[in-house]
């Protein structure tokens, strides 16, 4: 039951199957949810919230990389590796966020296709 709640917690508005009434779970909490229902009771609300936070972080990473790219173009960049590291970090963060979203959508679709 904990696992199912954890998965449902990933989907906004899906609530939980049990009486725990979990509003949702962060993706990380969802992964731990298989060990117990408390994993589904995440501190800060829905998957929507956590993905918004993730996107905010992603945005910060990317604007950092963008700023360094501008510096590279204008000749103000002091260290080449600063830009390439920032770019790699932004790339990874994007990949990560996209994966989060993909898996949430996949789980949502799986549940929507469930025979009732």
């Amino acid at each position: 039951m904990g696992a199912i709640n954890a998965i449902l917690g990933l989907i906004p508005g899906a609530g939980g199957l049990g009486s725990t009434g979990a509003a949702g779970a962060t993706p990380v909490a969802g992964a731990q949810g298989a060990q117990g229902a408390q994993g589904a009771q995440a501190a800060d609300g829905s998957f929507g919230n956590s993905i918004t936070n993730a996107l905010d972080g992603l945005n910060a990473t990317q604007s950092n990389a963008d700023g360094l790219a501008v510096k590279a173009a204008t000749g103000d960049l002091t260290d080449v590796h600063n830009y390439t590291i920032a770019a790699a970090e932004a790339n990874l963060a994007t990949e990560f966020t996209v994966q989060l979203r993909n898996r949430a959508v996949e789980t949502f679709n799986d549940i929507m296709k469930m025979q009732i």
Binding site: D79, N82, I85, A88, E89, L92, A93, E95, F96, Q99
Partner: protein, 139 residues
Amino acid sequence: MSLFPIFQTTGSGLYANRVWMDAVADNLANMNTAKPFDQPAFQARYVEVQSVPGEGNDPVGVGGGVKVVGAQFGSAEGQLRYDPTNPLANKDGLVRYPDIDLADQMTQLIQAQRSYQLNLTVIDRARESYQQAIGIGVK
């Protein structure tokens, strides 16, 4: 603590080694900087670094990279050479040259360069590992 902390750590290593190469470049560029007898010679630059302690929530005491804290200077006495045709020479024909050993500087340059490459390799491996971690369970 960022999501990918290795980049911060390795970035600091890259920076420190770049500064080291800068110092060696400066030393080599000034190898033949002559000074009059009564002035200090060009002093070789040695970069001073310190390890950075890990961030607060780090459980096992792994540090957070390296930090450039300043430069130390080599001998101001330099070496005196007899070069009477040099306009800077004193009445005995002595000119002060920096006390910089070319072989030593080249060795340092190789060390710095290799060390820089090493940190780049770490970044590459870390990126690969993160990517694989992100890809766990992808169909």
